[in-house]
Amino acid sequence: MGVTDVAVILIRTMIMFVVVYAATRFMGKRQLGQLELSELIVALLIADLAAQPLSDIGVPLINGLIPVMFLLCGEILISGAALKSKRFHDFLWGKPNMLVESGKINLRELRRSRISLDELAEALRKKNIFDLADVKYAVFETDGTISAIMEHPRPKADRIALQDNKNS
């Protein structure tokens, strides 16, 4: 690899970095953990496509730029359409699944979501919920997280007491 090759790679890297950065900003990205499925796919594809002309200078730079721009535009149009149409939104990203209702586990929804009881228990423990009876609703969200609403939200004093117990 000669000096010219290194210079070309440097310039291409700078161009690609600016384009991908601008594309991500233009899309208005949320944090990685909050990405919907299509957004995650776009992010992964962009990363791979942008890298191709950087690793092989025989590949024209436009071979990386065009797909990145296309994915960006496609994602913006799809997410715009999903905002306008609830049906399209549900088709694209699915609906949240109610896993627990008033302390009772909905096994059918659990199976449909391909979540085991252990995984559900683990997700609830991470939210400091140790008794299923305390759960009013546990929802498997479309971004893959499980959110829970307590039957009786803990009073603030109890939360402070918990914090004190943790610290002592």
């Binding site: 233009f26 208005g28 200078i57 025989g58 590949v59 024209p60 730079l61 436009i62 065009i66 721009m69 296309f70 960006l72 535009c73 496609g74 913006i76 149009l77 715009g80």
Partner: protein, 114 residues
């Protein structure tokens, strides 16, 4: 709404650019193939090379560099074999095949998509 409009415009520009690229590569390949098939003298082949070199800035942006360099190399090879008709025809056919391959690769077909 503004982002969606900008995205749509960009998309249309890219689609338009892709169609124009197909057409330009097609026309260029057809013209060079025609010139090459008629070429019998040093000046004829040189005219093909000059035409190809003129397009080099565009072809290097739109095509794989190895493809472009191979065709350039094959054209100069054809010049070397001007005195030997068989070798000259073989060299010309090789270039014509490469040009037709480039043309085919830029078209939307089952083979190119899959």
């Amino acid at each position: 709404m503004r982002k969606e409009i900008v995205a749509l415009i960009l998309l249309l520009i890219m689609v338009g650019g892709a169609i124009w690229n197909c057409s330009h590569i097609n026309n260029m390949s057809v013209e060079l193939t025609f010139m090459l098939k008629k070429a019998n003298t040093y000046e004829d082949v040189e005219a093909v090379i000059n035409k190809w070199v003129q397009e080099e800035r565009y072809t290097h942006m739109a095509l794989r560099h190895s493809e472009v360099d191979t065709i350039t190399s094959d054209l100069y090879t054809a010049l070397e074999f001007l005195d030997n008709k068989e070798e000259f025809d073989a060299a010309k056919n090789r270039v014509i095949w490469r040009l037709e391959r480039i043309q085919a690769m830029e078209q939307i077909r089952w083979g190119t998509v899959f």
